[in-house]
């Protein structure tokens, strides 16, 4: 039940905001309240979560299209709990910032943000392939409108690229999931057997690779991250990209062991290239958001390295790094927004010297920047170290090149810090530009605070992401498929039963192809 509430509370609130004639202030504060309630619900789930068990928790299953074996089936594994936590925290920060910044057409805006929250949590908790797809697509609608209506100049091209790229990927996934689901006779992820069909695997993998994005499918990224409203960019890079991590882990890797094995080397190579290429572009980028955008590309490459390292270290590191990157990139995008608000530009040529007289901004930006470059003892360092240690077992070159990328990360993060805070004051920086206001601190400090807390105890996530810290076991057993088998379920094959006078008569309306061929 809790999972369902987490998904549908924000969606219901979105409908309420759209329908009720609320004022701008009321709409914003209601949206903020709901996103904080979401955080509270998630903390409740965290406290009640049994991290020792690899089973699906807070699970709920209801028939949806029973004749095709599709059900509304949701629940949380430990790693999806962490990803959901990342989402509610970042969404709350984004909503709070938007409320403070006073977005135009507040009712439409906040409704869309809440709708997006629900869809993202839905993706992270779906245990049915069609449901997963539905939530995955549902994310795109609010994103499209949020970027298209509230984005900066040039948003039209950005939205078209974003939509075309992601939809091509998702539609390939739709074709793949139709074939896969009909072959299995069910769309329930906990009942579907692994497949070794390369084409189906590629349908899923390409969709997730575009969403993440991975090199060379990142064409939509620079425009979307630059033209979107900053808090939406924070959500895009912090949260939405992590749905690809969930998809890779829950579907592509768990269900397609053979194709994953066959494609491991090309994927690892592409991820390494993306990591290095993204870092270099971030270093060369002329504006604040460009640095964050390309560093996201690099970080997603790193997370993919962890996922496809196929060992405990890699999986744990990938989840930890997903949360770290989500928090830090959201914090950086919001800080970029605050800088842009004061100077109305994000270009390094016109910025500089903002540290003087603005200690809070300087402290927070330096903290976030230092976390990005994965300074030792930070959570990001722990995540990157785990990933690199994991991928080292696949080949020392991946580890070595990944370590090189950490050096590049230091270069672009320090460049960002110095270009904004140090040097001579830029032309766009007026002396009257204020330091961070209390409301702005209230938005960014919790994000950075979470990261600092994780720096003290990264094992909170890396040691508690896969029930009992057995990541490979969880993945190879496809997340303990047995966990649901104990639940009563009418039949593995969909049946259409009619109650007649003499009892019930059942006919198999839609025989699974596998069963039929036996």
């Amino acid at each position: 039940m809790l999972t369902t509430v987490l998904i549908f509370l924000p969606i219901a609130a979105a409908l309420a905001i759209w329908i009720l004639p609320l004022s701008r202030y009321a709409a914003g504060s209601f949206a903020l309240l709901v996103s904080l309630v979401e955080v509270g619900l998630w903390i409740d789930a965290l406290l009640r979560f049994d991290f020792g068990s690899p089973k699906l928790q807070f699970a709920q299953q209801t028939d949806w299209i029973s004749s095709l074996g599709v059900s509304y089936s949701v629940g949380l594994y430990a790693f999806s709990l962490w990803l959901a936590g990342l989402s509610v925290v970042v969404m709350a920060a984004a909503v709070a910032y938007a409320f403070w910044a006073g977005r135009e057409r507040a009712r439409a805006y906040f409704g869309l943000m809440l709708f997006l929250t629900g869809a993202v949590i839905g993706v992270f908790s779906s245990q049915d392939l069609l449901l997963f797809y539905a939530f995955f697509e549902m994310m795109l609608i609010p994103l499209y409108v949020l970027v298209g209506v509230w984005g900066g100049p040039g948003r039209r091209a950005a939205t078209i690229k974003l939509v075309i790229y992601t939809m091509v990927g998702s539609l390939l996934m739709l074709a793949a999931l139709v074939v896969y689901g009909l072959d299995e006779g069910t769309f329930d992820l906990n009942r579907m057997q692994p497949s070794n069909n390369t084409w189906i695997f590629l349908g899923f993998a390409v969709a997730f690779a575009i969403k993440a994005p991975l090199f060379p499918l990142h064409g939509w990224l620079p425009d979307a991250y630059r033209k979107a409203p900053p808090e939406v960019a924070a959500v895009l890079s912090g949260v939405v990209s992590k749905t690809a991590v969930y998809g890779f882990l829950r579907i592509a890797i768990a269900k397609f062991p053979e194709p994953v094995h066959d494609f491991r080397v090309p994927i690892l190579v592409l991820a390494t290239i993306g990591l290095l290429y993204g870092s270099l572009l971030a270093f060369r980028s002329p504006d604040v958001r460009g640095v964050i955008a390309y560093s996201s590309l690099a970080q997603m490459g790193l997370i993919t390295l962890g996922l496809f390292a196929a060992n405990d270290l890699g999986f744990d590191g990938a989840i930890l790094q997903s949360v770290n990157h989500g928090l830090v990139s959201a914090a950086l995008f919001l800080l970029a927004a605050m800088v842009e608000r004061r100077t109305s530009t994000g270009e390094f040529d016109r910025l500089g010297g903002m540290a003087r007289g603005r200690p809070l901004l300087a402290t927070l930006l330096i903290t976030a920047g230092v976390l990005t470059l994965a300074v030792p003892f930070s959570a990001n360092f722990a995540g990157e170290f785990l990933v690199l240690a994991g991928v080292f077992q696949q080949g020392w070159a991946y580890g070595a090149l990944g370590a090189l990328a950490m050096v590049l990360a230091a270069m672009y993060a320090l460049r960002l810090i110095s270009a904004v805070l140090h040097r001579e004051p830029g032309v766009a920086v007026s002396d009257a530009a204020l330091d961070l206001r209390p409301a702005e601190l209230g938005v960014v400090v919790p994000l950075v605070g979470c990261l600092i807390a994780l720096s003290f105890w990264p094992a909170a996530i890396s040691g508690h992401a896969f029930g009992g810290n057995k990541a490979t076991g969880a993945v190879t057993s496809q997340f303990a498929a047995a966990s649901l088998a104990s639940q009563p379920y009418p039949s593995s094959l969909p049946m259409n039963c009619v109650i007649t006078k003499t009892g019930s008569r059942c006919q198999q309306v839609f025989p699974a192809r596998k069963a039929a061929s036996k």
């Binding site: 949806w64 299209i65 939530f135 298209g148 039209r156 939205t159 075309i164 074939v179 009909l182 839609f510």
Partner: protein
């Protein structure tokens, strides 16, 4: 003394209700005072559609086993009943949509024709031999020819009526010729009898029979507006009064697809290999032509016309699949499709009445913010056409793709997926026009206070919105109906 066959009057009750409504509405055009004519006609037609829906529902419940009635001329089964239900619902919504339309002279005749057309479409859904097939087709087509041209003051409307008449008659003539060839080959006109004769006389591959089948397919292609027989669609959709266009796009497609399924599956099982391939070619052509042509449209009605060509392509995937799931998918798809196209044309009608001009992408600018309910509905319909989740359009596409895959034609799924990707550009283009145009581009509505509230039109749009979303959520109950209906076809 000629002894007529036994007539199952109850099975004909939906059509009879609509014919009665048409007759009363027509009398009203003469007897009722001028100022009361529109409400009277609309009320009678609405009552007719409600009665037809109610009779259709009872008929659905009471016809679990299909049977031939009226000497084998018609079938009484759930398949025809479900198609009739969809047509009746579309007709009711179309009446609501027509209510605010300024039909200057002929409102009594207008509603009479609307009810008559609905009756013809429901009749067609039950047709069980080539004679009733042609009769039903002409019955509703003639009513629609006049409806398209009813706004005699507008040249466009007359042009649409004439074009539809010429091209539609051509299509009907080909269909009739095809029927004659099939009769010539088999000596039968009943659908089951044609199949039986084909099997008994080993007529598989017979030139006359194949030629007749091909011509029947051409005729169906015209009525479902599948490419390459779609040429009339954009002009007629653009020129006809918007409520008529809405009714045509929703109801005609339902009736034509239903009868097409019934004829192909019942009468030509022997030639299955042939017609599935042909329909698959129609699918590819419709998806290509509809989507590419829609990309270039600025006029919303023309855009929706090409979109209906492409949607016909998607639905024909279910026909081409030639399995029970395919028939279920087509019937299922028709429910959200009908709601989405009627709803979309309702929104177009609202804007048209506001501006008193043809609606284009340019003058939709800002519409979403000015009229939140209609704007959000239109956005939902466009996303639904594009197959986004939260709308029944997604379920329709999912089901037809599943049907194609079930037949083993996964390539047809890939074609559909590519077409969907292409269609996004123009469907989202409408959303962009409504919400994302910069304010300097806004062409604000003519001054004169806020636009008319038009309660009826908003009700129709809301009802369509509810159906569109509900067909995403409550899939299984609706699919059960479609399964029961499709069970009547001899797959």
């Amino acid at each position: 003394m000629i002894h007529g066959p036994h007539v199952d009057w109850f099975a004909l009750s939906p059509e009879l209700a609509l014919l009665a409504a048409a007759a009363v509405a027509l009398l009203g055009a003469v007897l009722v005072p001028r100022s009361w004519r529109t409400p009277f006609g609309a009320g009678v037609a609405a009552a007719g559609f409600v009665a037809a829906f109610a009779f259709g529902a009872v008929l659905f419940a009471r016809s679990p086993h299909g049977e031939a009635i009226v000497a084998g001329a018609m079938a009484r089964d759930r398949f025809g009943a479900l198609a009739g239900l969809i047509v009746a619902a579309a007709g009711l919504l179309a009446v609501g949509l027509s209510y605010g339309e300024r039909i200057r002279e002929h409102s009594g005749e207008y509603y009479a024709l609307l009810a008559a057309a609905g009756g013809g479409m429901i009749f067609l859904g039950f047709a069980d031999n080539l004679m009733t097939l042609f009769l039903g087709l002409e019955w509703f087509s003639i009513a629609l020819y006049i409806l398209c041209a009813i706004d005699g003051d507008r040249e466009r409307s007359l042009e649409a009526g004439l074009k539809y008449l010429v091209v539609g008659s051509f299509g009907s003539a080909i269909l009739l010729f095809g029927s004659a060839l099939v009769y010539g080959a088999t000596g039968k006109i009943g659908f089951e009898q044609i199949a039986a004769a084909t099997a008994a006389q080993h007529l598989k591959g017979d030139a006359l029979l194949v030629g007749g089948l091909a011509m029947l397919l051409v005729g169906f292609g015209f009525k479902t507006s599948a490419a390459p027989f779609h040429m009339w669609t954009p002009d007629v959709y653009e020129g006809a009064p918007t409520p008529v266009t809405g009714f045509m796009s929703a109801a005609t497609k339902t009736a034509a697809l239903a009868v097409m399924l019934r004829v192909l599956v019942t009468a030509f099982p022997a030639e299955k290999q042939l017609w599935t391939i042909t329909v698959a070619v129609l699918v590819c052509a419709s998806l290509a032509v509809g989507n590419f042509a829609a990309l270039a449209q600025a006029n919303i009605k023309r855009l929706l016309a090409y979109s209906s060509v492409s949607q016909a392509g998607f639905m024909l995937i279910g026909v081409a699949a030639a399995n029970r799931l395919g028939a279920e998918a087509v019937l299922y798809y028709l429910i959200p499709y009908g709601a989405m196209s009627l709803g979309a044309f309702a929104v177009v009608a609202a804007r048209e009445r506001e501006l008193d001009a043809a609606v284009t992408l340019d003058n939709l600018a800002g519409f979403g913010w000015e009229r939140p309910l209609l704007g959000a509905s239109m956005a939902t319909f466009m996303l639904g056409f594009a197959g986004f989740p939260l709308t029944g359009g997604f379920m329709g596409k999912f089901l037809v793709f599943s049907a194609a895959d079930e037949r083993g034609w996964w390539w047809l799924t890939v074609v559909g997926v590519l077409a969907t990707a292409l269609s996004l550009y123009y469907y989202l283009g409408v959303v962009r026009a409504m919400y994302m145009r910069p304010s300097e581009e806004l062409q604000l509505a003519a001054v004169g206070g806020s636009p008319p509230r038009e309660l009826m039109l908003q009700t129709v749009a809301t009802a369509c919105l509810v159906i569109t979303v509900a067909s995403f959520v409550f899939v299984q109950p609706l699919l059960d109906l479609c399964q029961k209906a499709a069970a009547a076809l001899p797959y």
